[in-house]
Each structure stands twice: as C-alpha cells, then as structure tokens.
C-alpha cells in the first residue's frame, strides 16, 4: 500500500519521555510512528534546558531512580547515545548543626550512620527491610498491565496472586501491609525514630510530588509505592547530558526506525469515526490519519479537551472531572561561577542527592501553608549538583545547581509575579545556610514555579503525576476505573502518560505498557 504523507500507523501526542518510550517501542515493532509535540522541544518535564549560554542542566527532573533496565535494553538506548554520568547516587541529609547524615547503602556506610544516630540505626535497618519486603510484594504489579477491573476472571486471578504472595510471606507481613495502607508516614516515623532530621527526610521522600502533608493518611503507602518503583529501576542515577539525554536517545530510536517527530505542532482535536479513532487534527487544520493514537498528555485534557465529552458517557466524563489537585513542586536551576562549598560535606558527597528538610511538624506546616497559597519559612529542598559528575554541563571550574522545592503552592497568595523574588531569595538563603557564599557565586538562575512548569513543559497544573497517586487511583483504577489499562472507550485511542499506571516520575513505564496494550488490543496478555 502506498502511504500518503499524512497517514501513519501510530500517532503519539506529546514528546515527553513516556510518549517517546511508547513511540520508540511501537516504532521498533515495525510501525510507522508520528510524534506530535506542541512545544518547541522534546522531553516535557524530562528535558535538558539551558540556564544561560554555556550552562545546561536538567530542566525539571534531575535524578532518575525508576527507569527499568528492560526498557533501556529493549530499545537499545545505549546504542543511541544514552550514558550514565553517575550510578547509585547516595542520599545525604544536610544537618544545620553537626555532621551531615548519609542514608546508608552498605555495611560500611551503615557503621558510620549508626555512629551518628546510634539510637535510630536499628530502627532504620528494620524500616528499610520492611519497606523492601512490602515493596517486593507490589513491585511485580508495577511492571505489567494492571488487571481488567471489568473482567471478573482476571480480577480473581490478580487478587489470588496478591493474597497468595502475601500469605506466603507470613501473617506479620499481611498485618503490616494492612496497617501501612491507610497510615500516615508521620505517625509511622514518630513511632519508630527519634532523630527529627531522619524523620523529616523519610517523610520528604514519601510525600515529594504531592501536596499532602506527612500526616495525611495513605502517605505511608506512598513510601512503599516509591520503593517499588525504585525496584523496577536500577537505583538512583544521573544521565550524561542531563535528563533530556534520555529523550534524545529515545527520539533517536524513533528516527532510526523511520518515525517522525514534529515540534511546534499542537493537536487541535482527536478525530473519531464511529467507535474508533481515525487520527488527529492539527491546529493548522490539517488532518493526520492513523488507526492508533496514544496520548501522553493529561487524561482529562486528552479525553475531554481533545476528543470531546460527547464521545464519553456521563459517568466516564465525571470520573475525569474530580477537581485536580495542583502540583506542589517548584524547580530552581542556578548557574555558579565556582564550585559550591558545603562545609562538613565529604568530597565524595558533592555529587550526592542532598536533602534539606525541616522537622516533621515544620514539614506538616509547610504542607498546610502550601494549601493556603503561602510557602513555608523552612523550605524542604532536594539539591543536586549535576555538574560534579557530568563535566559537560558547565564550563570548566563552574557548576550548575539543581534544586527541587517541595510544598510550593500553585497559586501563591498575592500572585506569583509579586512573590517570585521573595521566594527565590528564601530558597537561596536556605541553601546559603549550608553552602555559604553561594549568593556571590550565582551568575544566573531560573525559577520554575508550578504554573511555570505547566506553561513551559505542559504538565497540567504543574503536577508531575498527572493526577495524585492516591490509593483509589492506582493500578487499574488509574487514572480512573473506566480508563485503566490505558484503554479508552474509543478503539485505538490509548493513554500513555503519567496519568496512567504506574504514575509519574521518569520511569517510562506508562509509555512502555501503553505500547504493549496498544499492540495487543484484545488483552491477549493478562
């Protein structure tokens, strides 16, 4: 069959990492793929951006922990230029008074850890063990298509599997999991640890990416979920060339298989003929045809914005219309003319993931403040200096600093235009408390508030999960029961973004699994 210029096998909307993973997997299966991206660059929230000429860095996401090896191998990303600048990046909690605390990865580090926190060391070891064992139970579910909630047999198989696996692990495990599901991370940590620093850091990890405070129910399970995602991946890593290098490699896969990636091409609407998808219409009115359309953008924007509510029944549309919780994460990228100096920080830890966290109560206050449109006076930060491990990011002897700020309101009281400067000052002052003189070393900076992230990188409401990771919005219930398993009521239209199972973060799994669902439409694999 002769193919005309605007007919493809697959159209993918959105060139974020999930869209590109799906596109690459489908392209490698021999399909002719077209990727449409509304902005002028690929990558979405996993892009590399330039702060000022000569200084480039990860725009939003900076460290990768859940990117599975099988995606990397399956798409042969190594051959397309994907390199790691750092593997197994350690996590260090910066201590305003006293020695900085590294979360131990091995026996030697644990010895040091227990010297600093002798009373919490055993509890920490137990916690990690419990977290791992619980995560191990759910980890396999993350890497496969969630079960079909409508299919009773599949559901029964699925439940039997979990129950058996849990039952095999013993009664204590079952009780532990039942306890963990509804519990808040704050209550759990208060009962186990003494050090406010350690409690703050563990709560920070469990709540990062959501607006929920450490005492919100269900946050304890988020820690398990995150641990399980980490098990899917290969540990905390850093790509050479910033996070965008992943998307560049994926784009290279798509291109090498004859696929097209078009930038600055917003989709106006999704064309539906009868009960199946026919293609998309671009903003300039041109129609692109394909029997298969995957959308990596927000589920609501896809189905109601692009496809139209008249293609959904009321209940299905209502499922997508719960008031979205806006993202609560901001990003600060700084260009430094010299290396930052963190007193008391060991030299090998300069490339580590550095956490600045207040005590649990202050973290909870920060969450409350965020809900009211303010930001806390004790911000919680994740700092990374990517140019330590990757010298290509900044000129010789100079550095970039990448900061993720937790609990930042989407709508600031008084408006972001008024508050932006004060906010940056507050963050920089907080960092300066650990790295004196950093204000003088700054030569340029970029602040991305949640609305900025939405505008620049297309994340609706600045939420990197495209819908909160709540217990009732996981697995086949993600983004909502009618649209689990990446499918939509329209044949051939699939969701492949972070709004689908297993959720946000640079894992590529939603895209990978959506591509699988699209290749086996009748659910031939369970």
């Amino acid at each position: 069959m002769r193919r005309s210029g605007n007919t493809y096998d697959v159209i993918v909307i959105g060139a974020g990492h999930n869209g590109l993973v799906a596109a690459a997997r489908l392209a490698r299966s021999g399909r002719r793929v077209l990727v449409l991206e509304a902005s002028d660059s690929i990558g979405g929230a996993a892009a590399t951006s330039e702060i000022v000429p000569g200084y480039v860095g990860p725009a939003v996401a900076h460290l990768i922990e859940g990117f599975p090896k099988r995606i990397e191998r399956g798409l042969k990303l190594g051959r397309h230029g994907l390199r790691y600048a750092a593997r197994d990046v350690p996590t260090v909690i910066l201590n305003p008074e006293g020695e900085h605390l590294q979360l131990p990865r091995n026996r030697k580090e644990f010895a040091r850890f227990s010297k600093i926190l002798p009373r919490d060391a055993d509890a920490y070891r137990d916690r990690v063990a419990l977290l791992r064992s619980q995560a191990a139970l759910i980890e396999p579910m993350l890497g496969e298509l969630p079960p079909d909630m409508q299919d009773v047999a599949a559901m029964r198989r699925f439940l039997r599997r979990i129950v058996w696996r849990t039952a095999f692990s013993g009664r204590a495990m079952l009780e532990g999991l039942m306890q963990t599901l509804p519990e808040s991370i704050g209550d759990r940590l208060d009962g186990e640890f003494e050090s406010p620093l350690l409690k703050g850091a563990l709560a920070f990890d469990a709540t990062l990416g959501s607006a929920e405070g450490p005492y919100a129910p269900g946050t304890s399970f988020r820690a398990v979920w995150r641990e399980a995602l980490r098990m899917q991946g290969q540990g905390l890593r850093q790509f050479e060339g910033g996070t965008g290098a992943l998307c560049d490699a994926l784009a290279s896969v798509v291109n090498s298989q004859g696929g097209d990636i078009r930038l600055n091409t917003p989709v106006e609407r999704i064309l539906v003929e009868g009960e199946s998808v026919a293609g998309v219409e671009l903003a300039d009115g041109m129609a692109m045809h394909a029997p298969l359309v995957l959308s990596a953008i927000n589920p609501r924007a896809t189905l109601i914005g692009l496809m139209g509510a008249e293609k959904l029944e009321t209940q299905q549309a209502m499922e997508l219309c719960h008031a979205p919780r806006p993202g609560s994460t901001a990003k600060l990228n700084l260009a430094l003319e010299r290396a930052p100096v963190f007193p008391r920080l060991a030299a090998e830890h300069y490339g580590a993931r550095l956490l600045v966290v207040p005590a649990l109560q202050a973290l909870d206050d920060a969450a409350n403040a965020c809900r009211e449109g303010r930001f806390s006076c004790e911000p919680a930060l994740e700092i990374h200096v990517p140019s330590i491990a990757d010298r290509t990011l900044a000129p010789e002897g100079q550095h970039i600093l990448s900061v993720i700020v937790h609990y930042v309101p989407y709508e600031a009281e008084g408006g972001w235009t008024m508050k932006r400067e004060a906010f940056v000052q507050k963050i920089v002052r907080t960092i300066a408390a650990f790295a004196p003189g950093i204000e003088d070393a700054m030569i340029a900076g970029e602040i991305l508030t949640p609305p900025d992230i939405e505008r620049k990188y297309g994340l609706a409401a600045g939420d990197w999960h495209q819908g909160d990771l709540r217990l009732d919005r996981l697995l086949g219930f993600r983004p909502s029961p009618s649209f689990g398993r990446y499918r939509t009521p329209v044949a051939g239209l699939y969701l492949c973004g972070a709004g689908s199972h297993p959720g946000g973060g640079v894992t590529g799994l939603p895209g990978w699994l959506a591509a699988e669902a699209a290749m086996h439409p009748e659910g031939s694999r369970k």
């Binding site: 109601i304 139209g308 008249e310 009321t314 549309a317 209502m318 219309c321 009521p489």
Partner: protein, 432 residues
Amino acid sequence: MTPDSLPKQDDEQAVPRPEITDPADERAPVDPALFEQVAAEPPFTRAVTATPLHLETAGESHTNRWVTWNGYTVPEVLSDLTDEYRALRGSAVLMDVSPLVKYRIAGRDALAYLERLAAQPVAPLAAGHAQHVIFCEGGGFVLGDGMLFRLADDEYRLVTEETHLAWLADSAEGFRVRVEDVSATLGVLSLQGPLSCFMLTEIGVDEAAALEPGAARWVSIGGMPVYLSRTGATGDLGYELWCDAEDAPHVWRAVMSTGQPFGLRPAGFALRELARLEAGHPRAGHDYLSAFAAIEPRDMLPPAAIWPDFSIAASKGLFNGGAALRAAAHIAPSRRVVRLAVEGLEPVRFAAVSLGGKVAGIATSTGFSPALGANIALAILDTGALAPAGLAVLAERRDGLSIVETRLPARILAEPAFSHPRRMMVPAPSRA
C-alpha cells in the same frame, strides 16, 4: 408558633447575597430564584408553595381539596371529577400544570449535549417542535422521561415530572452548555379537549388549527406572549400554553372567559391523572422509579420495559446507557409496564396483580375509566405473566362500614383506554 418561624429582625441589615449566576458562565446550572427565601409573615407562617396560578385555581375551587405535586400545592378536584371528565371529553378543560419541572438548556453544544443525554435521536428535532425523550444512566436504566422543546437552534427546554438537575449538570461537564432550572419562572396552562382548538380560535389565536401535533409557536393571547404547543397527555386534542409567571393569571382569565360559554371548565390534578391513565402514559416516580431512586435493583427498568416500542435508532451514536443497552439488546426485560383493564362496573381499589394465585406484579396507577366503563390501571408485571390469560386483581370495595374483598379478572389492554384520531389531525378540528 415557634420563635424560629418569626422573621429575624436583623434580616434587614443582612448583607445581600451575592448573585450566584454569572451570565458569562454557560455552565452555571442553578437559577438563584429557586433559593430565595420568602419570609413568611405571621399569622400565615405555614407557607404554601403556590404556582403562579394559585389564586385563579383557588377561586375556582368548590371542594377545597388540594394535593402536593412536586412541592407545589395544586387543586386535586375543583368541582366534581365526573363533571370535569365530561368537560374534558365533551368540550375542554383548563388545568394548571406549572409544577412540571422545566429546564432551559442552551449553548453552542446544546445539541451534542442532548444527543448524548437522550436515548432517542435529537438532531432531527426542528426549532418550534417538541419530542418525547427518555434518558438513562450508564447501566441503561431509565432515569426519567420528558418532553424536549427546541426553542431555537441552540436553545432547548426539557420538561420532566421529576427533578434531574444534578444529573443534567454532571452531564454538562465538557460541553459549552448552560443548564438551568426555570421551573419557577414559567406558568404552564394545559387546555385539553375536543373544543380546545375552537376555543383558541375564539380567543383570536388563528394559528392553533394549523399546528401539527408536537409543534409549537409564539402567539399572543390577550396581548401577552404565549408559547403555544400542541402537546398534552390526554389521548385527545390538546394544547399547552407556556408563559411568564406574571402573565399566567391573565392568560388563565382570558382563556376561561372566552371558553366558559362553550363548556370550558377548570380542572385539577385528579383529572390530569385520570386522563393520563386513560391515554396510557406512565408517570416517572409513580409508575416507574428513576434508576437513582430505586433501592431494589429490580425496580430499575430499561426503556423497553416501560415503552414497548422503544428501540435504539440505527442513526443514534453514543448516548448515556447506550453501550449497556446495546450489549443487552437481545435480553428481554424481566418486568414490563402494561395497561390493565379490570372487570366490574364500579370503581374499586386494588394493588396486587396475581396469576394463578401468585403475585405477578403491582398496579401503580389505578382509576375508573368512564371511556371504557371499567377499572383500568398501569401495572408492572413480570414478563412471564404477560402472555397467558388468568390475571386477576384483589379488589377492595367499601360496603357500608365494611370492606368486601373480591378477586376480579383482569386483562392486558393492547390499546390505550382512550385515544381519539382527532389527536393527530391536521388541521385540528376548530369548529364547535
């Protein structure tokens, strides 16, 4: 009298409530007039929710018998049900049907919205016409039915027996459409009977005769604009007059004064129920339950169980409940709404319908039909009880102070108890 019922003194100083409805927001669903608190003045603190025509109907009432219909107090019988019935079938009656629930649905996506909402195709409906619509929830069970008027290209009026605002507003998500409850702003008069067209012509509405069944147009009655539609559920010729609440009493008086010499009588709710029963129209909330109101799952009915001639049109695309109805198209509903006639020449009360001594269903509306000379009913029967003869009802008859229970044979009516060809005639007969 309780202190609570007295008007609060400081209400005068109260800050005025902000306007809820933003005219620019097409989706704002609620008409603020609905929530306006009308302070009751002592000693009449027990407020009667009155229709715009309350004073007119109250003036006509010789019986002081009232019923509550959708929260409004309306007359049950004004003079005598038999007299009112005789007027309905021999001349015409005028009824206040303002308690009907009326929704205005307007906006660029109004058609797409209704097409998704209703189980029937809505696109063929032209402006100035009305059609019967059924709407279902996602499982294919009926939520309600009503008359849908297309007032203009992108403006509709949906008239239902029960309130459905929550469902209508939920369904509006993603559509550029505004749904509002305009029940309180409209007065509705129902002029029904063989002489109804004649009387309208007498008033000076010459357009009435040419109006097809289901069609509607703006006319002027006594100088007031009235939206006149040839609709009604009496099985006979009839019209409904939709006007501003303020105009309604004047329209009522104009029609009454012209019609009275020709036998026009005002009538109440009981006659409306009887006429509807004779014409065989099930009423939502009475003969069937909305799927959201049904507590027992078996009380949720698919459209075909209530309207036997319902089928999904081939041209119909996606609609609420469509997927479920199409999937279950080959499965016959287990219960059906049917018309029953019961032998016996005097009015009796009955509810349970039995077959061979076993209860096979329940009569939901009953009445004595003068047209058929028999007790008739709308009943929900198990499908298994439909085919064979042998249906019976357990009837109660008052005899002095005692009650006599008798088992009366019943049969299923294939045709409504009353349906006159005049109903469909064009032009409508306009001579006395």
